[in-house]
Structure formats: C-alpha cells, structure tokens
C-alpha cells in the first residue's frame, strides 16, 4: 500500500491545498498510471482532532489519515497516532518542544514520533542527534522528502544508512500538485492511525518516489 506520509492542507499556515483538492489530484495521478492509496495529513504544530475526512476518503477511494509535524528544539518531527494523552502532555504550538521527551512519551502512549527531513539544514535531526539527549529509541526517520532541496535528502539518507534506520517517504506537499511525489510502500493494508503506528513499528516498508508506483 502506497501512502504519502507527510502532507499539509490549508490547516497548516503555509499550505494552499485543501484535502479534497489533494484527493482529486490523486485521481489525475491514477489516470497517469500511478498507484497512490493513502495520505497522512501532518499539519504544522497542531492536530485537527475534530476533522473527519471519511466521506471524502470514500468518495475518492483514498485513505486519509491524520498526524502532525511538530517543531522541536531538535528539529522537526512527524507524529503519528496522535491521541488525547499526547495532546495533553505537549503544547503542539511550542516550537521549542523537547523531542527526546516527545519520542519517548509517544511510544509509551501508543503513538510514534520520527524525525522529519533529517538532512534539512537547521531543522533536521542530523544536526541534533549527537547533541546530548537520548535518542537511542529512534529507529525510523523520514528518508525521502519531496520538499527537500538538493543535498538535503542525501544528507539524511547518509545518517539513516549509517545508523541502520528504517526510512519513510512523504511529499511534504503544501500545494496540490506536490502530493504523493514521495510515498511509503507498506507491505500491509493500513486503514486507520493505529494500524499506521503498528506498521511503522514493524519496519516492513520502504520509501519510494511516485515514478516507482507505475502500475
């Protein structure tokens, strides 16, 4: 199952795409012969707990899941399986969150936080992994990010390969036509956020570019 693990809708301050526009665009991609099965909305510094995309999901035949992308003092992190415990424990709008605490607590409450675009300058995990905190529980990072600049994906990949991290793929889309440029190829079907978290912990997936999904 091909899932875009990193995308932003108009709910994020810097995105210009609605969820429905993303799903319409996925129909264009499917007509072109690509396979896109799901997207995860990882809005900046927030979690839209009350948004229900199930009818859009049914209408367009695309699984739509919700997560978050949080700014922390150790770079940006993608959080999947966001739940009330996590929301109570952390102020998602705080750009100086302690990522080490976030990663540990997320795991304790059935969620998962992974470094986003680890090779990105200034806000990538590469710059912080050896800065002191205990990040030993991190086993997965975002390996392919569709919004990274030249050299940034490669920098993150070098870290991931050296440390033996599993890697996901996500578009980091902020505009409609950027959705699904990078995805994660899961070996299992994922229907909800809990199954997504479980799938990430299995590490049975690989990052892919859209071109690799041609049917």
């Amino acid at each position: 199952m091909f899932v875009d693990m990193h995308s932003h809708s108009v709910s994020s301050d810097d995105s210009r795409a609605t969820v429905e526009q993303y799903l319409k665009w996925i129909q264009v991609l499917r007509k072109r012969g690509h396979q896109v099965d799901g997207i995860v909305l990882t809005e900046h510094r927030k979690f839209d707990a009350h948004e229900d995309y199930s009818s859009l999901s049914s209408k367009y035949g695309v699984t739509v899941l919700k997560g978050s992308e949080l700014d922390t003092r150790y770079g940006h992190f993608l959080v999947y399986g966001v739940n009330s415990k996590l929301l109570s424990a952390f102020e998602f709008s705080d750009v100086t969150l302690d990522a080490a605490e976030l990663v540990k607590y997320a795991k304790d409450v059935g969620a998962i936080a992974i470094p986003a675009h680890p090779g990105r300058f200034g806000i990538g995990f590469c710059e912080y992994i050896d800065s002191g905190p205990d990040f030993s529980t991190i086993e997965t990072v975002e390996y392919l990010n569709g919004g990274s600049r030249t050299g940034e994906n490669e920098r993150g990949q070098e870290l991931a390969d050296r440390r033996g991290f599993a890697g996901t793929g996500g578009s980091d889309a902020h505009f409609v036509s950027a959705i699904a440029t990078c995805l994660t190829d899961f070996s299992q079907t994922i229907r909800n956020e809990q199954e997504l978290v479980e799938a990430i912990y299995t590490k049975r997936f690989r990052p892919v570019r859209l071109e690799e999904t041609t049917t």
């Binding site: 301050d13 900046h44 940006h76 102020e91 709008s93 100086t96 200034g122």
Partner: protein, 150 residues
C-alpha cells in the same frame, strides 16, 4: 516558544486603520510594465485598452501591491529578530484597476505567529489591506506576510 511568548502590541490585532489614498498614475503604470516586461497591450496602449471596452489603461493584476509599502500602519512594537523579509502575498481581485483611479486603503494586523525553519526560529506578521476605488467599489484585498528572523 509559542506565539504567546512573542512580544508585540497585541492591542493592534484586528484593528483597522486608514492606510492612505493612492492615485494610479498612467506614467507609473507604463514604467511598471517596462520594468516587469508586461507586454499586454491593454496595459501599455491606451487606444487598445479603450478599443477593448476599458475606460483607460488597465493596471496589471498585482499592481496595487506596489502601494502596500506606503501604507500608514501603526508600529506593533515587535521585539524579535534582527532581519525581516517578505514571506508571502495574496491578492483577491474584485474589479479592474485603471490609470487615473484613486484608491483608498484600509489596513490592519491580522496575525502574529511563530515557526522554525532552515534559518531558525521565525516570527510571522500578517497584515490585511482592502483597496477601494473612487466610486467606493472594492477592487482588491491584499494579505501580506512578513517574517522576522533571529
């Protein structure tokens, strides 16, 4: 750090101010077109514009953004960062703007928020401005976002 931690005059949020009056000068329009390489005859040739049913030279669609820099705005006393940049701009176009029009602006502070990026922690300041012409017709709404970096 959240938006709550940013020091600025919060009493300015949502308050509208008269932003000033601006005349759409024909010569300025032509110089703008030359500088930007705008070749549309409706914006460069008054006869062509009138032949197409316009009352005068047509201003290019984003022309009123030029006036935003000169708007009368209060100092929001933002205490963050050492350098600022234009982060984004949005224009909703409601009616054409022509040479000879007089535009009146009202402006106000919409939002202030924080985020982090490649250059570190940033504070974004968002302003909204409405332009109306001499007939009281709204011609454009402009929203600009400015970023302050450490």
């Amino acid at each position: 750090m959240t938006a709550q931690d940013v020091n600025f005059d919060r009493s300015q949020l949502g308050v509208g101010y008269p932003g000033g009056t601006f005349v759409v000068d024909k010569d300025d329009l032509l110089r703008y077109c030359k500088a930007t390489g705008e070749s549309d005859p409706l914006c460069n040739d008054e006869e062509a514009a009138k032949a197409a049913g316009h009352p005068a030279l047509l201003a290019p669609p984003t022309y009123c953004a030029n006036f935003v820099r000169s708007l009368g705005r209060p100092d929001i006393k933002l205490n963050f960062g050492r350098i600022g940049f234009h982060a984004g701009e949005s224009i909703d176009i409601h009616a054409p703007i022509y040479a000879g029009d007089t535009l009146t602006a009202t402006t106000g502070l919409k939002d202030v928020y924080t985020k982090t990026g490649r250059s570190g922690t940033m504070v974004f300041v968002v302003w909204e401005t409405s332009f109306s012409n001499q007939d009281g017709q709204k011609v454009a709404d402009v929203q600009e976002s400015h970023v302050r970096r450490e």
